[in-house]
């Protein structure tokens, strides 16, 4: 039995504006109908794999739960009180795995990678599982397809019963070095790990006992909160360090399984273009796109018509509130751009115009001097908090489904094509008691129309 551990952190800067701080890369449907996270979770389902452990941040927990639910995958979703890099996260997963079974093996997978061949991946995972049985901490080494400078490399040594001993880890090289490393048989460092949870904890304790103790305390303090397991505050005391630095580079008993399936960490728009199916001109076009005299480009529309004319090697990413046009060979700079927008407090760096909530989502569709128009979707069986606003009144027009609306002490059913008025200051609540999603148009009027004008009197999701 191998327990998949899915690392679901991320800052949402590299594929901006499709990814956002509260909607990172792994949650984006970058390569098809499923998100990278959903692909990852599906890749390690069935066969030798047990119920996965997902380690994630607080910001996008609802989306993670929703995306798993959509795919029918059950998982333990473990929330960190703060991101402490991969070492504490993986240790926490290992502790949880030993609670399921002292003999459990663990397969650690970042949630934002693309692996194009699931069969080859699962075969490699089983091989890694056998190597882990021997007590090794195992990683996957990807056969390089080009002299990449954005990945670390692994130099393999002597052959083991399964896989090879790891001789050294090599930092991201320059292009010349990368070429030489490939000639010497080095492999890309994938960030995929496999080990017996108990063996990892023993090794980690010897290397970094205080941090492991902090993580163990955090796990002991775990509180169940709706669909989630919240690690306790002690977790924050664990050292912020990557698993590579803290463990892999320090150990003797470490092995690499060389693999040759197509793999990418989708580190920028250029990589996504690389991994996507290109047409005869080397273009990838998603959505309502026209290309004329365009080659080697990635163009993505989301609603609007996007036309590109006479260019080579560009990324054009259209979203409802932000457009990015970038040279693909400068795509690595998108991260810094998104970070600088975030520092300036721009909303476009933080959230999408469609904002996900535990009860559904909302999206601002129009905004004027004294009014805001939102489209709101409520999941069947869910309800928003019981709330009031001091500075705005709201008109709701139901355009799909049937809503139950409470205004002060009056509860009424509002059907498609019916409307209801929420006066300023009145206590109200929106519920979807039905079997299909409710959608409604909300017209807010008032002098102050920001999200923080809300008093929550009761909430199903612990936000009151």
């Amino acid at each position: 039995m191998i327990i998949p551990v899915i690392l679901c952190g991320g800052s949402g800067t590299r594929l901006w504006p499709l990814s956002r701080k509260s909607y990172p890369k792994q949650l984006v449907d970058a390569l098809g109908p499923l998100s990278l996270f959903q692909e990852t979770a599906s890749r390690a389902a069935g066969g030798p794999f047990g119920k996965p452990i997902v380690i994630a941040g607080d910001d996008y927990r609802f989306l993670i739960a929703e995306q798993l639910k959509t795919k029918g995958i059950e998982a333990d979703i473990v929330l960190e009180p703060e991101g402490r890099d991969t070492f504490p996260a993986i240790v926490a997963a290992a502790v949880l795995a030993t609670k399921r079974s002292p003999e459990a093996s663990v397969l650690v997978m970042p949630s934002d990678h693309v692996i194009a061949d699931t069969v080859a991946f699962q075969a490699a995972a089983e091989e890694a599982g056998r190597a882990a049985e021997a007590g090794d901490i195992v990683t996957f080494g990807i056969a390089p397809t080009r002299p990449a400078t954005e990945y670390g490399y692994i130099r393999p040594g002597e052959s083991l019963a399964v896989g090879k001993r790891i001789e050294t880890f090599l930092e991201k090289p320059d292009a010349g070095t990368a070429k030489r490393l490939i000639e010497e048989g080095c492999l890309w460092n994938s960030g995929l790990f496999c080990f017996k949870a108990g063996a990892l904890l023993t090794a980690a304790e010897a290397l970094n006992g205080d941090s492991v103790a902090a993580v163990r305390a955090g796990v002991a303090e775990i509180k169940s909160d709706l669909d989630y397991l919240r690690l306790g505050e002690s977790f924050r005391k664990a050292r912020k360090i990557s698993f590579d630095y803290a463990v892999m580079e320090q150990l003797a008993d470490r092995a690499v399984i060389p693999v040759s399936f197509p793999w990418s960490d989708v580190g920028d728009w250029r990589e996504l273009w690389n991994m996507s199916l290109q047409d005869a001109d080397g273009n990838v076009a998603v959505g309502d796109v026209r290309l004329q005299g365009v080659t080697g480009s990635y163009v993505r529309a989301s609603g609007r018509l996007v036309c590109v004319l006479g260019l080579e090697g560009v990324a054009v990413i259209d979203t409802p509130d932000a457009v990015l046009v970038a040279a693909l060979d400068k795509a690595q700079q998108v991260k810094a751009l998104a970070q600088s927008l975030d520092r300036e407090g721009r909303e476009e760096a933080k959230v999408h115009s469609r904002v996900y909530r535990p009860w559904g989502w909302y999206q601002t569709v129009d905004l004027g001097g004294r009014f805001r128009v939102k489209r709101i979707g409520v999941t069947p069986g869910r309800q928003l908090s019981l709330q009031k606003h001091f500075h705005r009144a709201e008109h709701w027009v139901v355009v799909q489904g049937t809503a139950e609306v409470r205004v002060d002490d009056k509860v009424s059913i509002v059907r498609e094509n019916e409307s209801v008025f929420i006066p300023m200051g009145s206590v109200h609540r929106l519920t979807n008691p039905g079997r299909i999603p409710v959608e409604l148009i909300e017209v807010q009027t008032g002098a102050y129309l920001e999200e923080d004008d809300i008093v929550r009197l009761q909430d199903d999701f612990g936000r009151a």
Copy 2:
């Protein structure tokens, strides 16, 4: 007295997506707060200039009237039943000018040109007026600033009392020829003309008597319609031909006034970039734009954030419903792109998402399976037609101003933050009886939500 004649036709393809078929280039605020049309009308106001005659198409007549009103300019707005190129339009203007005064001189100006020096322009216009007094048909020849291949050229001959005789008109040359023509002292053909209306009609009658007769008949059939003069159906019989071909190239008595003010016909995005104030990197950025490692580019946002990274010589034009990304040196191909979108029946080629009407405007801000959300603006004192819809109900929420709403036989006043429901099939009307614009959010629900589901029972603008 010189009567300015402003030619306000155009197909809206060259500056797509900022210009549209029903919102052509001259109506766009391409270079500042005023549209090119408003700049043109302002250029020939006061001094020796009389009340202008504007020749335009039916599609955007409301916008023309509105833009003139905004600038406080009174004009005769003459609507062609169909565009027949410049010759019939200019003849119609000449006929109307002779009705004002048999001795009138006329200055013909396309409405979509940029002329950066109004003082120099007016001085040249007065000079042209003196040449016209001598009976010549006069054009302006612009001193070339580069070997342009997109303009026709004029070879000047012997000097006259004012200006020079025109020796030949030369078609758009290739780059090598253009260079040689400039060395030989040739000038750009501007499309600006000046003549005595009577002299022009005499010349035109000799050259193309049938067409002049058709135009005269069209003028005789003129009907006044609100703010407009509608040429009669006979106008359609005039030959569809340009003034250059029909008159200028055929005549002996033609003169050119050489001028050297900065001039452009803003034939594409590259020209607009050329004529705009560029920063130290050669960039022009309009709206909420971020540039990083970008040079020699024109980037225009309209609401959304637009980021461009690591590119040279591109145009990025963002509008609510369409985005164009083009190499500036391929900007001439935008015209063909817009035409092909039009042939396919794409709305984005025809109208903006904000559609102008005689009573104001509307804009679709959201669209779902069975609903559409519009923002509607109604000008003070105007009202929409008395109408009904078979397939949709409407909810109106007033977010600014005070509306008068009739639903069947009931008339009520709807104030800011109040709403009203229009059931399917009921006869209704929206009026702005106040002094400030009314804005409202309309939520339409129903199975069919297109503009053609409308029965107009009465209309102030002749559309019932």
